[in-house]
Symmetry: C2
Subunit: 365 residues, 2 copies
Amino acid sequence: MGETHKPDTQSNTDKTVISVDAMGGDSGVAAIIGGMAKFASKNPDVRFIVNGDAAQISKCLKRRPALAAQCEINATEQVISMDEKPSTALRGGKKSSMWATIDAVKTGAAKAAVSCGNTGALMAMSVVRLRKAPGVDRPAIAILWPSANPQKHNIMLDVGADIKADAHDLLKYAIMGASYARNGMNLACPRVGLLNVGTEEFKGRPELHEAAKLIDTVARTSDFEYVGYVEGSDIPSNRVDVIVTDGFTGNVALKTGEGTAKHVSNLLKRAFSHTPLSRIGALFAMTSLRRLSKRIDPRRVNGGVFLGLNGIVVKSHGGADATGVAAAIKLAHQLAQNDFSEKLTARVASGLAASKDALSTNNEA
Amino acid sequence: MGETHKPDTQSNTDKTVISVDAMGGDSGVAAIIGGMAKFASKNPDVRFIVNGDAAQISKCLKRRPALAAQCEINATEQVISMDEKPSTALRGGKKSSMWATIDAVKTGAAKAAVSCGNTGALMAMSVVRLRKAPGVDRPAIAILWPSANPQKHNIMLDVGADIKADAHDLLKYAIMGASYARNGMNLACPRVGLLNVGTEEFKGRPELHEAAKLIDTVARTSDFEYVGYVEGSDIPSNRVDVIVTDGFTGNVALKTGEGTAKHVSNLLKRAFSHTPLSRIGALFAMTSLRRLSKRIDPRRVNGGVFLGLNGIVVKSHGGADATGVAAAIKLAHQLAQNDFSEKLTARVASGLAASKDALSTNNEA
C-alpha cells in the first residue's frame, strides 16, 4: 500500500471503502478520479483505495484536496490493456492495478471493487481471487436496461461473463438476478423472464425448455415471480424486471440496444439541425429533450455487476467519463451497504435447495 | 383457381405476377388489399393472385376497380392461425390460403409469394413445397436494418428460420446475404461481417471461429468482402452491409432493436408533450421529426426474405398495415424482376465449389 494521503484509519472504522482501478478504461486516470469526486461530493463518508500509477493519481488528487483526504493510494506498476487475452492477463498480471483492486476486496480492506478495464481479464481475476459462491458454476454479469418499468430499468444477465449457459446456470442467473433486483431496486417480488425467440412454449432451444421448468419450480417457493419466455422486444418493457439469458445472446442484445439507441439519437440530432425552423423547435423543446437524453443516457446506468462471486465487483464501461464512473461507484456503494454479496450467496443456497427438493419430489411422485 | 376478376392472360405474358396470402396477418384482409392497392397505383403492370376467402376479398376489391382488374382471386377456405405450431400447420394446412400462396410460385403461376402469416408455418410450407436450393441445409430469413450506410440499411440473416447454425450454414448465409445485397441493394462488393461478442479473434463460440475461416476463404475468390467479427453495436453502423448470425441470436437482436427504437420513440413523444414550450417546439420541428420517423419507421422496411429456397417468398410483419404490406410487395416484386432466386442458387453453387477447392488445396499443401 502507498503512503500518500493515507486516511486516519481510527476514525473511519464504519465507513464503506471502495477499491477503484485507476488505470483501466479508455479515458485515463483523470476521468476515473473525476467520477470519484462526483460521487464523493454527495457522499462525504465514503473512502477509496485507489490502485494504479501513484504519480498520475497524486497529480489528479492534488487539485481535489477534499477527495484526497478520502483516498488511500495503492501504488502499482503494471496495467492490463483492453485487448489482452484474459488467460494472458491472469498469468502475467499479478502486479497490475486490476489485480490489486480486486485483492483489496479479498483481504477485506474494501467492500467493493470498481474497474473500467478489460472485462474478460477482470472476470478471470475476480474468479481466481474471490472464488465462486457455493453452488455457482458460471458467474454472470448483470446490467440495468432503460425500460418502461416504474423503476425505469430492467436487469439483464448474463451479458458476457461466459458465452454459454446450461439450464442449471440459467436457474442460478434467475435466482441471482432476483436477488439483485431486491437489493439494487428494492423490488419485493421481482418478475423474472427467460429470453427466447417467442413466447410460445414449444419455441427455442432445449436447454431453455429445461430451464423454464426449473425456474418455475423454484419461483413457487421463493419471493420472485416467473413470467415465462420473453422476447427481445420485451427487454425495455414493463412485462418483466429480470431478463435471464446466456452471455452470448445477452451481450449481442446489449450492444444491439446501445447501437440502436445511438443511431436513433444521431438521426434525431440531425433532424433538429436540418432546417432553421427545426433549430428553433429544438430551442423551445430544449428542457424536454434534455430530460429525454438524461433518461436514455447509457452513462447514467453504467455498471455491470459480477454476480456469483464472494465479493462485489462492478465493471464500468471502458469508455466511461466522470459521470459514468460516478454511476458505477454509486452502484458498488449501494450494494456494499446492503451486504449484497452475503445475501446473494444465501439466496443461491436456498434456491438450489428448493430446486433439489422439488426435483426429488417430482421423481418420487 | 377462382373465377372472379380473372385477367386476360394473353396480354399479360411478360408481367410479373405476385401471389399474396390475403388471410395471414393481424390487421385483416382490408390491410392486405390496401397494401396491394398502394403498390399497384405506382406499378400498373403488376398482376396479383390473391389467395383466401373469396367473399371477403371480392368485397374489398369492389371499391377498387383498377386494382381488381389486376387481380385473380384464388378461393381457399382454411386459414393458418398465428400461434399454430409449424408441424401442425404443415400436416393439416394443405387447403389453406398460405399453402395456395406458395403453391402459385411452385407451379410457375407467380414469380414471388408474400404472406403476413405465421412465420414458422410459412417457412415449413415453403421448404416442403419449393424445396431447398442445392447445397443449402438451413434456409434463412434475411431482413433490412436501418443503418448509417449510404444505402440506409444493412441486411441481417438468419433472424429466425432456425434456432441454430453450424459453420457451414453460416458460410452459406454469408454467400446468400451477399447475393441479396447485390440484387436488393445494387451493391457490387458487399461487406460481410460475422456477429460475435467482440471483434478479437479469440472471442466467441468455436463454430464462429470455423465459420470465420470458411467465409474469409470464399470471399477471396468471390465478389464480397469479409470484414471479420462485428458486434451488436455494428448492426446499425457503416462498417458492414451483411451481418451473418444464427437464427436464435438474430431473432433476439432484431426484436431488441425494434423494442429499443420503440421505447426511445415513446419517450420522445412524451418529452414533446411534457410542457407547453416543448409542444411549441414540436410544431416548429414537425417536418424534421416526420422525416426522422419515416427514416426509422419499421413499416417501410417491412419484409423478411426467405433465402435458400427454389423460389421467392417474402414474410411481411404480422401486424403490418397497408404501408407495411406495400413495402413487402415492393421487395418481392424487385427480387422477382431480378430473377433473384436463380442468381442466388448459382451463387451458392459457385461459393460452395470455391470453399471445397480452397479446403482441398489447404489439405494438400
